[in-house]
């Protein structure tokens, strides 16, 4: 397959950035989008040009490193997949494909398609945990957890922290990411003790990082590679209000 690529090139966070065009030929339809970029980069590197920088690692949709806005969609066409899981067979032969970084103020561009998502980590530092110490905990089976509850917690816990929800949101809201974590821990008996404080602190940090508000467009759920449900945003709102009033 052959493609024309329009890729965002930006030297560093201070550079203004621009699109550059590249032609690429004879790509196997089974190649992944990132493998296609590998081929492009190898060609560029051999010519002594700087390859396109992009984040990636596991290449199987679990580490949350990759993230490219492709043809205007976070992680590109297709539902429930990360950029690394996208295959070239999803595109029309001869198509022009536009690739840009996540665009959101709390995710400054480091270079080309690589952004800095450490704001997500800082939200996690602000209470995205249960305060247990190593050792001295009860037996794993001491507190039974109903299967449906465990399953729902697991649905929320599946978040890979990729930031697509923020990139897809017109307000750069991080509510889906934060909602997933708050929800997971609020559902489990172990998470009860710090429940209120957690919701308050994480939301406060989210605001401090400059993430926007949720205006219920649900673009986040549509682009989330793990199909995290917006029901978790609703739970986050409830948790937050509950914590505020009591």
């Amino acid at each position: 397959m052959n493609f024309t690529l329009k890729i965002w090139r930006q030297k560093n966070k201070n550079d203004k950035g621009r699109f550059a065009s590249y032609e690429i030929r004879d790509v196997s339809p089974d190649a992944s989008f990132l493998e296609m970029l590998d081929i492009l980069n190898e060609g560029l590197a051999k010519k002594g040009e700087e390859p396109v920088a992009f984040d990636h690692d596991c290449r199987e949709g679990i580490c949350g490193s990759c993230g490219i806005v492709i043809d205007g969609r976070a992680h590109g066409p297709g539902r429930g997949i990360a950029t690394c899981e996208l295959r070239m067979r999803s595109f029309r032969d001869g198509a022009t494909i536009v690739a840009e970084p996540w665009r959101a103020k709390p995710f400054p561009v480091i270079k080309d398609l690589v952004v800095d998502r450490t704001s997500f980590d800082r939200i996690m530092y602000a209470g995205g945990y249960i305060s247990t110490k190593t050792g001295g905990v009860p037996d794993g089976n001491a507190i039974p957890i109903p299967k449906p509850v465990a399953e729902e917690a697991m649905d929320a816990a599946a978040c890979i922290g990729c930031g697509a929800c923020v990139a897809a949101c017109p307000n750069s809201s991080a509510m889906l990411f934060v909602g997933a974590k708050v929800s997971q821990l609020a559902l489990l008996p172990q998470g009860q003790v710090e429940r209120k404080e957690r919701a308050l602190r994480m939301v406060e940090q989210m605001d401090a990082e400059g993430f926007g508000n949720c205006s219920n467009t649900f673009a986040c759920e549509a682009e989330c590679p793990k199909e995290i449900s917006v029901a978790h945003i609703a739970r986050l709102n409830r948790e937050f209000i509950r914590a505020k009033v009591t």
Partner: protein, 637 residues
Amino acid sequence: MKLDSKIPEGLIEKKWSNHRFQMKLVNPANKRKYSVIVVGTGLAGASAAATLAELGYRVISMCYHESPRRAHSIAAQGGINAPKNYANDGDSIWRLFYDTVKGGDYRAREANVYRLAEVSNNIIDQCVAQGVPFARDYAGYLDNRSFGGAQVSRTFYARGQTGQQLLLGAYSALCRQIDAGTVKFYPRREMLDVVVLDNQARGVIVRNLVTGEVESYVADAVVLATGGYANAFYLSTNAKASNCTAIWRAYKRGAFFGNPCFTQIHPTCIPQGGEYQSKLTLMSESLRNDGRIWVPKMKGDTRRPDEIPESERDYYLERLYPSFGNLVPRDVASRRAKEICDKGFGVGTTGLAVYLDFSDAIRRNSKEWIEEKYGNLFDMYHEITSVDPYKTPMRIYPAVHYTMGGLWVDYNLMSTIPGLYVIGEANFSDHGANRLGASALMQGLADGYFILPYTIGDYLATSKFKPVNTDHSAFLEVHRNISEHVKNLMSVNGKRTAEEFHRSLGKIMWDMVGMGRNKTGLKKAIGMISDLRDEFWKDLKVAGTENDLNNELEKAGRVADFLELGELIARDALHREESCGGHFREEYQTSEGEALRNDGKFAYVAAWEYAGYNKSPKLNKEPLKFEYVKLTQRSYK
């Protein structure tokens, strides 16, 4: 140098508790005075950093990823072992110990393995307390599944994302300490060397991957939790960035390398599709619980799998190993797959694949039942191959997956450099010549939560530390070495990219140092790798500059190290004239094609000592004594 494994005296059940009692403690008020650098934030590194900080030490944590949560551990699918015996099927610490020593084909240290089995139950409790949403049964209790090499059900899991959930648990413990200010975390830092001063590891030199700056960090002890080196084979199931640099540089500073040739080839991976392919995807071994492996009985049979009647299928693992069937250990399953494909029975366009078929399980239970257990794996397979595994059997083939070898450590997890500890996949301990499924997660967390935090205290309490800072000549010198190394990589200015060299290395490794090894091939490989290394330093091309984010430069540094390590792997494989676990020397096999160990000559850990660039390394041996598990030929029949 005489290797001292520091295995405590006494009965195996008592060794760890006695040892804990005998170790010197650091007074709680004094812990603050000690600092520890933990490199890596996978299961081993994150759990160690969090626990050390909880105890009161000042911890510096770093990794080359953007966030601790992106470490390769996140990708582990299947599960984590612990002999809780919740299934009431006769499991015990002793049985897990026995299974692991046997599964490792009697090339692991008994004392370490026993301790691992002993602390593993605590891991499950710990993770549950952190909020890890393990799978549960309808009564709300923790559920288990079976894994290869065991006849009991002792594997805890969280769908097909166990590693993710465990890592997020450890990451949350780390977050809590970062929040408390007891851990200082540095993302996008690649450690490129250790600084050894007065025979003590006192710090590391790292490259800031965003600015390109070379930075120095000082502490009283250094812990490497930097993962495995399976990417020496280029194509593997590991994440793209996984590499050997941290442990390799430590090796070059005096840490011995244990059993480098013990690599694991995983039987159930999606076969390679084309040249462009950048990595191989694992299909969790848990699939072998319900999937049946087969090939057509007729060579070169091109019929679709559903056109081949039951009577014309060879369920070769069930045929060869009636009692373990599809659940034989990985090394056995992989070797048999290769053998049957080499004979011409393989399927798919390349003939390098076998079927993993779920139709019986779907018929027996239901599609929904399979979906609940393995849904995400099935989706992943579908996504990659565009074949629906609910309808058509999966095609699988073995791929390099894990490295049992790693830096040699004593019972305290300390390397031959005092104050340099190595945990998780980066060390050589516990798994011998073959690791059982669901045991790596267990080992990483055992090391990080429950073992290292004790043993490092003893070292800190009993050593003297000279006050130093990064201006010390020892730091300045290593800093200079590293800056030069980076400049050298940038200035070769040849024609081939690091990726091309990596691919060439991978081909040599897979063909000659892979699943079947022999003397002629290994000797040839050693020569070829050495030549390739020379070419690398003459013809490497690194685009971009050294002063900013440069993936090409990162890759070049890692490939330079793989090109040295690859040779050591081959040398180790050549010297070990026996077959054991994942190390299969074609010259040494039984008439039935099983691995033939030579306990008289090779019941030892090969600990290699660096002797200089392009010089033959020196072999040191740590004899292995088996007092509790009798040495026998493994049988899974």
